[in-house]
């Protein structure tokens, strides 16, 4: 099956904008809807949490809109709400990210509130305690949730002693220990200009965007102060771990090596992952675990690419009595793929899906903004969207074999189960 790689898959035109003050952003102009969607990411995420203060970056991300500049928390939220401005901050292992959505008519107010949140967050003590209480309640709420405990145990086993092994949301003890000084220091270290990536989509002129960029981000400190995060690899392959929970179904997490997004083998690994356990109903795991045997409602794998490591991790959940069978099926599918590779037809169909579906990720302003920020964050280049389908289309069987060797290795997995699995 051949396909046209010329197919228009992304937004028509991505404009690199540099403000007079030197703030860079990628812009997509669209007047279809009278709104502006902005995405941004600062280098440095939960992996920057001080030891014993895990959860600090997430707490910081939740406090930026809880009072800034002249406004206390309630006044700040009121200013957002009165114009229906949506401002959110998120933390991931490597980044402090955020997004802003506003009607064009209120763009000035929206960017100004973003400026205040980034440059002048107050960290008022009552807001700190409120957010702490919310995070602690969230941790208690999920304390025995099978999916949550399985994921936590998985990263703890896979990256012991490394920041990537700590949960971004922290623990009861670490969240209780975070001080206002920790948050102020973290904010000062991370919210800086030099590694900042910004994308803006919507009904805004280039000149207006440049003006907003300077006003919003221009006065931030030039450089972040980042703790070095050591390169690491997933360990514990070949081991199995059970978190005991009195539930009729076990959640299973399984994982092996990965390939980072910046690695030349990423695209072949991505195609391989699609064949094994990617999002479509056609993947081998979906067919064998769900369709043929009814072992689970959801099953799949995804590539995880962090700054200093990469892994592939899989998920499923099956009743306790059938966990052994389920693991056997997953193990044998991985072994088959590792030994025989995909068929030519399977490979062509996977490529057809991945190239054809790329455009589906660009159908809203917010999605476009997030995609652009992610591409910028990974340093893939402003032309990546144009190049990406060619990269997928060029993947051949030898590329898949190379990726399979790196990703699947000897087929041994780190396996974590939460439940009461009936296994020997």
């Amino acid at each position: 099956m051949s396909q046209s790689v010329q197919t228009k898959s992304g937004p028509a035109e991505i404009i690199p904008v540099v403000s007079p003050g030197g703030v860079e952003a990628w812009q997509v102009r669209s007047s279809f809807v009278p709104l502006v969607a902005v995405g941004f990411a600062f280098e440095g995420g939960a992996a920057q949490d001080p030891p014993g203060r895990e959860g600090a970056m997430q707490m910081l991300s939740r406090l930026l809109d809880e009072g800034a500049g002249p406004y206390g928390s309630d006044a700040f939220q009121e200013r957002l709400a009165e114009h229906a401005i949506e401002l959110t901050f998120t933390s991931s292992p490597d980044a402090l990210g955020g997004s802003l959505k506003t009607l064009v008519a209120h763009a000035d107010d929206a960017f100004d509130l973003l400026r205040l949140a980034l440059a002048e967050p107050r960290f008022d003590q009552d807001a700190v305690e409120r957010v702490r209480a919310q995070m602690l309640a969230g941790l208690r709420y999920q304390a025995n949730d099978p999916g949550t405990v399985a994921s936590r145990r998985f990263i703890a086993e896979g990256f012991p002693g490394h920041p990537y092994g700590h949960p971004s949301s922290g623990t009861q003890e670490s969240v209780a220990a975070i001080t206002r000084d920790d948050l102020v220091a973290l904010h000062r270290r991370i919210v800086a200009r030099s590694h900042l990536k910004i994308a803006a989509v919507g009904d805004l002129s280039e000149a207006a965007l440049a003006r907003h960029l300077d006003a919003t981000f221009g006065a931030l400190p030039a450089k972040p102060v980042l703790e070095a995060v050591a390169p690491t690899r997933l360990v514990g392959r070949g081991t199995r771990h059970v978190v005991d929970l009195d539930v009729p179904q076990s959640v299973i997490r399984f994982g092996f090596e990965g390939v980072s997004w910046r690695d030349p083998d990423f695209i072949p690994a991505y195609v391989l992952n699609h064949i094994l356990g990617g999002g479509a109903f056609t993947s081998r795991l979906f067919q064998e675990v769900r369709e043929r045997r009814g072992l689970a409602y959801s099953v799949g794998t995804s590539l995880v690419s962090y700054r200093r490591t990469a892994m592939t991790w899989g998920y499923t959940a099956t009743k306790n009595e059938r966990v052994g069978e389920c693991l056997e099926v997953i193990g044998s599918e991985i072994a088959k793929l590792r030994e025989d590779g995909p068929t030519d037809d399977e490979l062509e169909k996977a490529k057809a899906y991945l190239t054809g579906s790329y455009a589906l990720g660009f159908d809203t302003s917010t999605k476009i903004a997030h995609q652009l920020v992610q591409i910028a964050f990974e340093d893939l280049g402003i032309d990546y969207i144009r190049r990406r389908n060619d990269l997928v289309a060029a993947v051949g069987q030898h590329d898949i074999r190379r990726a399979a060797e790196r990703v699947l290795g000897d087929g041994a997995m780190l396996i974590v189960m939460a439940g009461r699995p009936d296994i020997a």
């Binding site: 197919t7 992304g10 279809f32 409120r130 043929r292 045997r293 054809g356 809203t364």
Partner: protein, 436 residues
């Protein structure tokens, strides 16, 4: 077959609704087209006017189980072929079941729309699968229920609360069905249900994205146009909920619970059962009471008194029959749920004084802005219009929604609060730790 144009294209409003057009085929299939030419993507959805609330007694979960079985092949196309084609064309697909409707969708490049229509029209009347696929698929649904409910005490509380709120109406039965009834659903049950509800006269085709309305209608005519009509739309038999008298408390205690929570459900009229503008007023009431950190309950219970760490409200107006208005609260560590409930009552007692013009305006602004933000997403628009038509609303109802929201007054808010947020309409839910 000729096609009838029922309504002229509805023009673009000033910052209001999208530019959409509607048609009806001779076999009764309703069509809505919502153009969005920004990217070469179309969302193709078929909505059926039946959901879990139409499950026959003793066969709870059949609407949802059938939705799964709709991927198991037809006389013309064996199991999995449709999915393989969607995938090979770079498309995405899925389906969902709700109380009042069931919908199937694909998202593809516009040149593949016709293929999607062929397959979707084919399974509207040609469903056919082996007995052998039924048992594994039922196991999939049982695992889905284990994942969503059997391993989650909070979901068990939600089920128990709905069952207590709706003493007579099937909204009290979970969409996925009760475990012991799913276990006995079979091929016959699925086909009984399928032959009752799946026909063009009971379906709505919604296409949004990079398409022109006349192309969509032409392609629909060539595909869905071949599906024979039933002649009359299938009848939904829905008992009416009696006037409630009793305040109810249900509680789920589980050793796995580490964070107690409180939920409230009030029986409230829906967009279809409400008289006057009660439904629009309830939308604004939910926003003003519990729509985020500037809402009245959040300010009083979280910011001012610290009784709760979080609190909110929502209203499920989109329903055929009487529906839910909900409050939820997560208490601060030192407060038990009974005391939290008393604090909520005290605050609700003061709420009418808090409905000042600024707060009302803020709530309306946020609700109306959501409709403008939704214009940015072709799949959101397809869902908004599809779900509205599937429950029996008109396009005009959707289009005029912002004006109706803006027209809600302080008196309306007081009236609906005092009418519907009352003890005899209330089911309280407690999620607590079982320390036994």
């Amino acid at each position: 077959m000729d096609l009838r144009i029922d309504a002229a294209p509805i023009g673009r409003l000033e910052g209001g609704g999208p530019e959409l057009s509607t048609h009806r085929l001779d076999n009764g299939l309703d069509i809505v087209v919502i153009p969005d030419r920004r990217v070469p993507v179309v969302t193709h959805m078929v909505w059926y006017r039946n959901g879990s609330a139409d499950d026959p007694l003793g066969r709870s979960g059949i609407a949802h189980f059938l939705e799964h079985l709709m991927f198991k092949g037809t006389a013309a196309h064996p199991a999995g072929e449709f999915s393989k084609v969607v995938s090979a064309l770079g498309g995405q697909e899925n389906a969902f079941t709700s109380y009042d409707y069931t919908a199937y969708f694909q998202r593809v490049a516009p040149e593949h729309l016709g293929r999607m229509m062929e397959f979707e029209a084919d399974r509207m009347s040609g469903l056919n699968f082996d007995e052998a696929v039924v048992a594994p698929e039922r196991d999939v649904v049982l695992e889905e229920r284990r994942m969503r409910v059997e391993t989650d005490p909070a979901a068990q509380l939600s089920e128990a609360m709905a069952a207590a709120l709706f003493v007579h109406h099937p909204y009290g039965i979970p969409i996925i069905g009760w475990m012991h009834e799913i276990e006995h659903l079979d091929r016959d049950a699925a086909f009984d249900y399928y032959s009752r509800f799946y026909c063009p006269d009971n379906a709505i085709l919604v296409v949004s994205g990079d398409v022109a309305a006349d192309d969509v209608v032409r392609q629909a005519e060539a595909t869905y146009g071949r599906n024979a009509p039933r002649g009359a739309r299938p009848v939904r038999i829905r008992p009416r909920e009696p006037e409630p008298r009793a305040s109810r408390l249900v509680s789920v205690a589980d050793p796995k619970v580490e964070q107690p929570t409180l939920q409230r459900l009030y029986l409230a009229p829906s967009a279809l059962t409400a008289s006057g503008n009660d439904s629009h007023a309830l939308e604004v009431l939910a926003e003003i009471l519990g729509g985020g950190p500037t809402s009245f309950l959040y300010r009083r219970l979280v910011l001012d008194t610290g009784a709760a760490v979080n609190v909110g409200a929502w209203y499920m107006g989109s329903a055929i029959d009487d529906t839910r208005f909900a409050l939820y609260a997560v208490p601060t560590e030192s407060l038990d749920l009974d005391e939290l409930g008393r604090r909520i009552d005290t605050v609700l007692g003061e709420a009418r004084d808090a409905f000042d013009e600024v707060a009302i305006e803020r709530a309306k602004t946020r609700l109306v802005a959501e409709t403008i933000y939704s214009l940015d997403s072709q799949s959101s628009l397809a869902r908004i219009y599809g779900s509205a038509l599937a429950i029996g609303e008109t396009l005009e109802d959707v289009r005029s929604w912002p004006q109706h929201i803006r027209a809600v007054t302080r008196d309306d808010l007081v009236r609906v609060m005092e009418t519907y947020l009352v003890g005899r309409r209330l089911v309280t839910g407690h999620l607590v730790k079982d320390r036994a």
